[in-house]
Assembly symmetry: C2
Homo-oligomer: 627 residues x 2
């Protein structure tokens, strides 16, 4: 069988089973209905559906943007077909509780399955991403009645969901939203305002759309503490679950994007009187939880969406890598330096500079995938572990979330840039997928909190929370990995059964790699402590270079993920039929990518830490009129 | 007057006059018809034409790709109108000799004028870029009769030109082209073959198209030494200059690109018998110069095209920077850390992280523009200086050409990425120009020699040529600038009349910046010497990381350009009416961008040099089957 150019099943199996031991999760109460076999079955199905129903219309959706016709949005029919197949396979609720109709799959396995859809067609996969995030928020914060009325139909694929945060004048800064929610005598609300950048905000893919809308109730406190969260369905839902009147929420314009075109992006108006449910204007909304607690609740969805965005960015990088590799392996071009010009050409992979571009991609995308699944494993510990495990997982996950969102958005975009470069002129044409992946992926550093916002979140909130507990927990884990690597020293993984001496000099040099990582972890701790001191007296200077801090920390985390992966090689080959162990080409590739990243990419953090430690004021001192 | 968001005239004037002293060129014989006044007039005209006829259809050309209808290509009419205006203003031959109808403008001033067109509409400006390159090649290598027959009509805008190098199976490696040129009894040739990636290869913008085609004459040596160069006109040209028969060169397909869409990109077939000039199939071609010297001659055009590509990349970066600055200055969003949520929002420029993204762009695009114009100034020294000046200029220009092509292609693309980020979601939509600039600019690291090819050229040929004369000449110039900076130490430029202490602490710290640059120059020399030793025994290892070498050297060169610019600030204000000197906001901005680049970006070269010095073999050792 030709290997898929969507994703690598061998890599996913390695990460899920040899490294993250997802089967062990199945020994826990929550996941006791699952096993390696059920997980393999869902993965097989996901790969099949992705290949058969998602990938084929990826380009067509790009070339045929959504159109607004009256109040309705027209999409190519293949999107609806794909989403029906997805829902019919019970994948919307794959990770949700059985009691609401979910499959209660370990979240780690679920995200690995979702990666197939993102890689095959990120735009079409955007609809279930938003729907499951929406459903999970309501499962956490909604009433039983709200869950029955809105979540169950989402799991059946009859309803989809959105998150409506931004407004034309308020994007990164939600404190300034002006959408107004007027309380009504029947304890519903009527909403009036204009939202912006709402993905999936209008379409005919489902019977109904459940908008989750942030708005302010008159008299609420200024800023983010006065924001409440509402359910605003496109059609009101009757008590028996049937659809009622059309609500007064109408899309008045579409945003035309450079990529991600299959996910319709809308500007919906609420309460413009275009419909009059109950005889009057105003979008009917139902409060979720208490008043003025909306932003906090929305973070339930945003945190999940941030992992999803990171994984989507990763999947685009991964498929671009596989496609550029496929091209490089089959495209003859040039010869080795000094070769006879009459000798046959070599394949592109015969050139060190092309291997550099492929190794860079491999190190970014496989490192990012490892991080995404590691975070998912933490979610599983939160959901199914002991109280201690759950608390420990939450502490680390809080710190990792901004990195898991931003690092893949930056570096898997870079991977797509390199994929184009490997193909050369061909990569710049629409005859190949890589240019679309590059355009699609450019959205990821923007939505669900920009790159800059993630930096503020990491440095301004996460690492110092609980007296620095987040950073301590993270760096302890990284140091423990370094300790294992130092002890392993060529044995191919502590406790592992394999011999990590791969063919042709690809021996296991865990200790070398750990020695490169460890001083950077120490430096991270030192610099964070110094920055915290600055923060006490000058909050603006403290956060001025939060983005540099985010990027340096991200590189350390990915280096850690690489060290973890080579240590896990020793556990391979326990019955997957692929040969396995740590001596095959797969293992040699992991080793070389780990070396590539840790030797060649990790050192850029030093310059960033120098900058942070020096308290460089260049950007801080810059004035508007000097530009 | 609102400042243009196409380019900054103030910056161009500063670079041309205060720094590069283009007026001094006008004292030389070749440029004695010119002066600051004539240069200003051509610049005014270029800015006006760019704004009026090029910028307005930039988006329209992107949204309306060229279409192949039968043998002809249909373009939107605005492209033809713009090119007529351009030719009517005598700009095609602006830098060419008066004796062939050119304006004989200093090349430095000419490139500065061209930057307006690239920034306004890089796709439409692509046609004159190719035409002037083609004409210059024929002026250098063609016979008088060829010049009269083909070049003069190009200057009049009646003919356009192309360069036909690549073939479907031979892109970066031209040794493998198979287009065949059969000699005929009348000393013409008949060409047969398939070309690929030919920009401007078919259109109705001109009466005729002059293709410059690389082909092999049967019996020639294998490899690049067996390549000859031919003129293959779309229509044969009679002795009286009138058009004759349609030649047997026909476009059989168009390439559909992610950007740069207004420049039609074609796959032309030669000798398919679709036309039969003189009654038989075969594209009629006329040899330029001697047989088997074609590639060397084509480099005349390629070197010029490489400077042009670098400048085009720079111009796209520059206009994207100005547009994102314009947005950031007028878009209110968020507040300072800890501010009262009820207080008014600040503009985006009020956030340090946004200033970081703007300063990064400024440092890339103004640094790249300085490099492009510095190279143009070297071209002027070659053309008009004493034999010693000309030889010295050629030595440095040879080394700088791969950098002037690749550095802007990489970093001004990065600038466009940051421009999108400054705009956030808006930047990802087609309502703003920055997303198109990003797509357009992605071509630049590919065409006219990929990024990797530039690295091979720099390390494999240029720096070691003449016993290392190229690198010595370059580093001597950089060191001389460092010496001047160390001596200046706050005086605002050695010999300058101004006081470099700009407002609010923006004092002149030339010595600090020189001290950061100098050790990296030393390191460059050391590492080059080490690599040369490797090259003697292992050519593959020598060139394996040529790209890293290219990028590190590029950063040093741009840091040098920044030091040059701050030293030149002291010469400002000599009658340009802008206030001038080195104490105004313009000077403060230059200082801050110089600090930004040298303090914050230059240090990344250290990790690259460490890698090169260590002889890292990670990419070299990687094997195809390990991916």
């Amino acid at each position: 069988m030709t290997p898929s150019t969507i994703l690598s099943r061998a890599d996913l199996d390695f990460l899920l089973h040899d490294w993250l031991r997802v089967s062990e999760l199945c020994e826990r109460e929550r996941y006791s209905d699952h096993s390696r076999e059920t997980i393999d079955a869902v993965m097989d199905l996901s790969a099949e559906l992705a290949e058969k129903y998602f990938a084929p219309h990826n380009r067509k959706a790009d070339l045929n943007e959504p159109r607004l016709v009256g109040e309705e949005v027209e999409l190519i029919p293949e999107i609806g077909e794909a989403l029906r197949r997805f829902a019919d396979a019970d994948l919307v609720g794959a990770a949700m509780d059985a009691k609401v109709g979910g499959m209660q799959l370990p979240y780690t396995a679920y995200l690995a399955c979702m990666a197939w859809f993102y890689a095959a067609n990120v735009s079409t996969a955007g609809y279930p991403l938003l729907t499951t995030g929406n459903a999970n928020l309501l499962l956490t914060h909604g009433s039983d009645e709200q869950i029955d009325r809105y979540v169950r139909p989402m799991l059946e694929g009859r309803f989809t969901g959105t998150m409506c945060l931004s407004e034309p004048q308020a994007g990164s800064n939600l404190a300034d939203i002006t959408t107004r929610a007027e309380p009504q005598p029947d304890s519903t609300y009527r909403l009036f305002g204009q939202k912006m950048w709402i993905s999936g905000g209008e379409h005919q893919l489902a019977e109904n759309i459940v908008h989750l809308v942030l708005a302010k109730i008159p008299g609420s406190p200024a800023g983010t503490r006065g924001i409440s969260l509402f359910i605003v369905p496109k059609f009101l839902v009757n008590d028996d679950g049937s659809l009622g009147e059309r609500n007064d929420v109408v899309v008045t314009g579409l945003n035309h994007k450079m990529g991600f075109r299959g996910t319709v992006n809308t500007a919906p108006s609420l309460g413009q009187g275009l419909h009059t449910p109950g005889g009057e204007a105003g979008a009917v909304g139902y409060l979720v939880g208490e008043e003025n607690t909306g932003l906090k609740k929305m973070f339930t969805m945003m945190n999940e969406a941030r992992l999803g965005v990171g994984l989507g960015a990763t999947a685009l990088g991964y498929t671009g890598y596989l496609k550029s590799l496929d091209y490089a392996r089959s495209r003859p071009q040039g010869r080795q330096v000094g070769a006879d010009p009459a000798s046959p050409q070599v394949m592109l992979t015969g050139h060190a500079d092309v291997r550099r571009m492929l190794l860079a991609q491999k190190s970014y995308v496989e490192g990012a995938l490892a991080l995404g699944l590691y975070c998912a494993r933490l979610v599983d510990d939160e959901k199914s572990g002991s109280p201690e495990q759950a608390a420990a997982a939450k502490t680390v996950l809080d710190v990792l979330t901004p990195i898991a969102k931003s690092w893949p958005s930056q570096w898997c975009l870079k991977a797509n840039e390199l994929a184009i470069q490997v193909l050369g002129g061909a990569g710049y044409t629409i005859d190949y997928d890589v240019e679309q992946h590059y355009r699609d992926n450019r959205l990821n550093p923007i939505h669900e909190g920009t790159h800059g916002i993630q930096g503020q979140d990491l440095l301004g909130r996460k690492v110092l929370a609980g007296g620095g507990a987040g950073l301590t927990a993270l760096t302890e884990r990284i140091t423990a990995t370094c300790d294992r690597a130092a002890a392993a020293d060529g044995s191919g993984g502590s406790g592992g059964s394999g011999d990590s001496h791969a063919p042709d000099g690809s021996h296991g040099d865990e200790a070398e790699l750990a020695a490169l990582l460890r001083p950077r972890v120490t430096r991270l701790i030192e610099v964070t402590t110094e920055l915290a001191t600055v923060g006490a007296s000058d909050p603006e200077a403290f956060l001025a270079d939060a983005t540099e801090y985010l990027e340096a920390t991200g590189h350390i985390v990915i280096a850690w993920m690489w060290l973890e992966q080579v240590l896990a090689l020793g556990y391979r080959g326990a019955g997957d039929g692929s040969g396995g162990g740590s001596t095959d080409a797969f293992a040699a590739g992991k080793w070389q990518a780990a070396r590539y990243f840790i030797r060649r990419e990790l050192p850029i953090v030093d310059a960033k830490f120098d900058l942070l430690a020096a308290g460089d004021r260049t950007t801080l001192d810059m004035r508007d009129d000097w530009f």
